[in-house]
């Protein structure tokens, strides 16, 4: 089918261009824009018999009203997927930027994918050991889960993400079928280099596909980046039976690109100027994690977002939290005190851990001890608040034991080295050891049998 080409635009407005009286053009169709000898890609975002509205991924810089040629390609934005993508680096819309060859062989896939039929999904239950105590014990990562890291500027989210990718292990299976898809949206060159170098050092780079849209790359391109990355991930997981870990960073930049586009389109804004469909849009990305019955592979997503001004009620972390299956929240106060990883455990949560831990998955006592650690650490915060008013001396003995527990919990349990890989058994034993700072009567979330098996009171010295 010959593609239709139009010469001349009727309007250029921010990232949008308008073509008059298009014929036989479909909604969401991809277009090729030519100015001089330069080619760019765009997508139809609104269409009527009078006008086609097109967003230009690479930006509208240098386009002219009269000399721009627009070719409608008659299909949605597609990328070619194949095994050859592993070890390669692409830009935000899937074009190679590592001086390697184009991907010529392989299936063409629509980057928007299709929703997984809920009855085809398999409920994720397999525990992924990250080697990080706070995550493994308290917000366990499950294969097929989407578990974001809520971070802030200056917090070590990239180091944690890299540590997870290096250490992630499945119980009773070799790590060989792991692949990593890394999608960068508007992050700094230094951050991207750090991730790349770390993956090179660990040798994981050959099982990694990178899609990089950096801070100085066109903003609108970011809208396609996570979708391109997930299309590749779906291919690896559901066609090639790999367990794919997808890192998406930074979702805040993605949402801002979406807002820029929405305001250029003159849409009615919702909270903080973000479009009313931000929830549905984010869901169309996050819900592409999961497992499918009778297929071997899986997609586990770790999106990273920086909370503007550390505000967890900002629309981006807020809507993300409503879609993802929990969150890992980084805490600035812990970071300031030199505790790495600075995971604010009370605000963090893994919704899927309840079905992936305990008997047959990790260890029988896991559900109860994790609940106990949460409850006790939450009490620590209350005691600390009280101590800051009346002074530590005035506290009751039981409250004092909470302070000792809290300190040990932060310095021994949370804190670990960037290359320290703790097994789940080590992590749980450590948890029991620290509970020894508390008197037995305070342990209401664990069973009597578990107390007899594991609990050993630490006497004051």
């Amino acid at each position: 089918m010959p593609a239709k080409e139009y010469v001349g635009l009727s309007q250029i407005n921010g990232p949008l261009i308008f073509v008059e009286k298009p014929s036989d053009v479909g909604y969401n169709e991809v277009v090729e824009i030519t100015i001089g000898d330069q080619k760019r890609l765009g997508q139809v975002v609104q269409i009527s018999d009078q006008m086609a509205m097109i967003q230009v991924f690479e930006g509208t810089n240098g386009l002219t009203i009269d000399n721009t040629r627009v070719k409608f390609l008659g299909k949605p934005l597609m990328i070619k997927v194949s095994d050859e993508m592993l070890g390669r680096v692409f830009n935000g819309i899937g074009q190679p930027i590592d001086n390697g060859p184009e991907i010529l062989m392989g299936d063409s896939r629509d980057i928007n994918g299709s929703p997984i039929n809920p009855v085809s999904r398999m409920y994720p239950r397999n525990f992924i050991q990250t080697g990080i105590s706070a995550i493994d014990a308290l917000m366990t990562l499950i294969r097929g889960q989407k578990l974001p890291i809520f971070s802030g500027n200056g917090l070590p989210h990239n180091r944690i993400a890299v540590q997870i990718t290096k250490q992630a292990k499945l119980k009773g299976e070799e790590a060989g079928n792991f692949a990593i898809v890394f999608a960068a949206m508007g992050i700094k060159h230094d951050e991207a280099n750090f991730v790349r170098e770390s993956l090179e050092q660990s040798g994981a780079i050959k099982n990694t596909i990178m899609f990089l849209n950096l801070a100085d790359d066109p903003a609108i391109e970011r809208i396609a980046t996570p979708r391109v990355a997930l299309t590749a991930a779906e291919y690896l997981a559901f066609d090639k039976n790999l367990h794919v870990l997808v890192l998406l960073t930074d979702m805040t930049n993605y949402c801002e690109a979406l807002r820029e586009l929405a305001s250029a389109r003159g849409e009615v804004p919702s909270r903080k100027g973000y479009p009313g469909y931000l929830y549905s849009d984010l869901a169309s990305i996050y819900e592409r994690a999961g497992m499918i019955k009778e297929r071997v592979g899986s997609i586990t997503q770790i999106p990273i977002l920086s909370m503007p001004n550390d505000d967890i009620t900002h629309p981006i972390p807020d809507l993300t939290g409503y879609i993802t299956e929990g969150q890992i929240v980084l805490n600035r106060d812990l970071n300031r005190r030199g505790i790495y990883p600075p995971i604010g455990v009370l605000q963090s949560l893994s919704r899927l851990m309840k079905d992936g831990i305990g008997k047959g998955y990790t260890r029988d006592d896991h559900p109860h001890i994790s609940s106990q650690l949460f409850a006790s650490y939450s009490r620590v915060q209350e005691v600390k608040a009280l101590a800051s008013i009346i002074g530590e001396e005035e506290l009751t003995d039981s409250d004092k034991s909470y302070l000792r527990f809290g300190q040990a919990f932060e310095n021994e349990f949370l804190k670990q080295d960037e290359d320290e890989d703790r097994s789940i058994e080590e992590t749980l034993d450590l948890g029991w050891k620290l509970l020894g700072y508390l008197p037995k009567i305070e342990l209401t979330r664990v069973s009597e049998k578990e107390i007899n098996d594991h609990y050993k009171e630490i006497k004051e010295t």
Binding site: G26, P118, G326, L346, L352
Partner: protein, 595 residues
């Protein structure tokens, strides 16, 4: 016979077509060459605006829009129970068989299995009998838990003709023909009903029976009636979905309709995997045999999300009309409201608060008012009910936003989920001070008669202790617990027992997940007995450390786990243990026990 128009503009799920004169408002239409399902949402001159229930990628101006002549409707008949539908009642299993693990567009599927034959037991109606709308003409054992009653559609009455005898029939079979003033009507095993029109009933009744949920904080403190409405608002991670799942599992309703509206795909999978394994404590049958699921996950088309709520409530009313108690869970109504907002934005309507359309509150009101307990249509005075429990997901956990405030006006139970409690993993994280139920008054008589005449007295004492504890906690925050007098310290300790030993309930524990009313009653008695006896000693000047015996407190805290639902008599032993402990203390301090 069906009309067609021409598409001329496409903007996401909202499309516009011309040459649409003669189409009906809310008519279901098929859009484009791929025949996507849509609904007309406005008509102006020759133009129509249509919301499309599927992804519109690739649609082009000039493609046809075909009418169906019907309002957007659901098919009601045997085969509903145990099924999983999308927002416009397409069965997801059939879609999977047709298009694989990923949802494709333009797939048309019958809502109910037209080929399956059912064992139909006809009633005594014979040729020439007068029948009225709502009358039961046959029954089908749909699952081991639900007898499906085939009814005359509510708007039809007349003389029965050509009545079939009992036998095996597919749902398309005409069981009888009803001759009425406006012609002959074939009565089949199924009927269709437009989703936006409430099904009629004879008379609204007061909601005087509780919907027993097995969740202590709800049944004891903030109960809901059969036919009642409740909202569960809470920020993300506070446990809305777990509470909804708990109610879907243990509520003593005959039929459960669970709408996953704009939520996670894995949550529907969880229900689908778990419910067939779980046993209904009332009849020993798998829970799936009384459950209908409607799934519009957050990545499925947004306009079908708007429809899913209506699809669900119409099914609920249909089972109510059979005389059943139906409980409908909608998780989450905020996603439905956001779908309204998105469509409204694309229509360029003037927005009200936070971009929501001005008609948001009235739509919420219309929806919740379809709940209720009623004498239903028919000839035999059947009573049925629809209870509606909607989750609300306020952005940023801010309860002053439009969906929460709009919902609060139309519901009578408010179960507020508390971020602080959730962070401490106190589940269910229903805040006991800010939540309320207006049904406590209406339910008092039933509970006094069927559970315990003192139940409400004990409940009120619980509330008093918790309120007083809240005041004391303010003081403790400032100066510490040590400065409180002993009797106030005791209140703090008892409140702690109530919070940890009673209100906290482990949804994933085999024993504690479901707590029947009689167990709740026994637990109340134990805690209050302990409090009364301890208080008597403390007020006589006995040191509080004497009455706070570790073993006794521990036994009370753990009774929810240690005493199973079928060993209620064990509470007596526990009570005797408490009495013995205090008898010995009384003796030691020579406090006389009053008779």
């Amino acid at each position: 016979m069906n009309k067609t128009g021409d598409l001329y503009s496409i903007n996401g799920p909202v499309v516009k077509a011309k040459k649409m004169t003669g189409f009906m408002m809310h008519e279901m239409v098929l859009v484009g060459n791929v025949k996507l399902t849509g609904e007309i949402i406005s008509l102006e001159g020759d133009d129509a605006t249509i919301q499309v229930y599927e992804e519109t990628t690739g649609l082009k101006p000039g493609e046809p829009v075909a009418g169906t002549g019907n309002l957007l409707s659901v098919t009601l008949g045997p085969g509903l129970i145990g099924s999983t539908f999308d927002g416009i009642q397409r069965p997801l299993n059939v879609l999977k068989a047709q298009s694989g693990d990923f949802l494709e567009r333009g797939v048309i599927a019958d809502a109910l299995d037209m080929k399956k034959s059912w064992d139909v037991q006809m009633s005594k109606i014979k040729d020439g009998d007068q029948v009225v709308g709502g009358q039961i003409i046959a029954t089908v054992k749909e699952t081991s838990s639900v007898i499906h009653k085939i009814m005359i559609p509510p708007n039809i009455s007349g003389i029965a003709r050509n009545v079939k005898s009992s036998g095996k029939y597919t749902i398309d079979t005409t069981l009888m023909t009803v001759k009425s003033g406006d012609g002959d009507h074939d009565i089949k095993l199924y009927q269709r009903w437009p989703v936006r029109i409430p099904r009629p009933y004879m008379e609204r009744l007061a909601p005087k029976e509780p919907l027993v949920t097995g969740v202590r904080v709800i049944d004891t403190l903030f109960p809901i009636s059969k036919g009642g409405t409740a909202a569960i608002p809470g920020g993300f991670g506070t446990g809305k979905t777990v509470v909804q799942h708990q109610l879907a599992k243990w509520a003593d309703a005959d039929v459960i309709i669970y709408i996953g509206c704009g939520e996670r795909g894995n949550e529907m999978t969880e229900v689908l995997e778990e419910f067939p394994q779980l046993i209904d404590p009332r009849n020993g049958k798998p829970l799936m045999e009384r459950t209908i699921l409607i799934a519009n996950t957050s990545n499925m088309p947004v306009s079908a999300r708007e429809a899913s709520i209506y699809t669900g409530i119409t099914m609920a009313e249909y089972f109510r009309d059979m005389g059943y108690n139906v409980a409908l869970m909608a998780d989450s109504t905020s996603r439905w409201a956001e779908a309204l907002r998105e469509i409204s934005g694309r229509l360029e309507e003037m927005p009200a608060e936070e971009g929501f359309p001005p008609y948001l509150a009235s739509r919420i009101g219309d929806f919740y008012e379809r709940a209720g307990r009623a004498k239903v249509m028919g000839d035999d005075q059947r009573i049925g009910s629809v209870s509606v429990i909607g989750a609300v997901s306020p952005p940023g956990g801010d309860f002053s936003e439009p969906v929460t405030t709009g919902t609060k006006r139309f519901i009578r139970c408010f179960w507020e989920l508390d971020r602080q409690l959730a962070n401490a993993r106190h589940y269910p994280s229903i805040n006991w001070l800010d939540s309320y139920s207006e049904y406590t008054v209406e339910l008092k008589e039933w509970i006094s008669k069927n559970v315990d005449e003192n139940f409400y007295k004990m409940r009120d004492r619980f509330m008093q202790i918790l309120t007083e504890d809240d005041n004391l906690q303010q003081i403790i925050k400032l100066v510490g617990e040590d400065v409180l007098p002993d009797n106030q310290k005791l209140i703090v300790r008892i409140a702690n027992i109530i919070k940890v030993g009673y209100l906290q309930q482990d949804a994933f524990s085999d024993v504690d997940s479901n707590c029947p009313f009689n167990k709740q009653d026994e637990m109340l008695k134990i805690i209050l007995n302990y409090y009364d006896r301890a208080d008597k000693l403390v007020s006589k000047g006995v040191a509080i450390s004497e009455v706070l015996d570790n073993d006794i407190v521990n036994a009370i805290m753990r009774m929810k786990e240690n005493i199973p639902n079928d060993k209620i008599e064990s509470f007596k032993e526990l009570n005797e243990k408490i009495d013995a402990f205090f008898d010995q203390l009384d003796k030691k301090y020579q406090v006389t026990v009053e008779a």
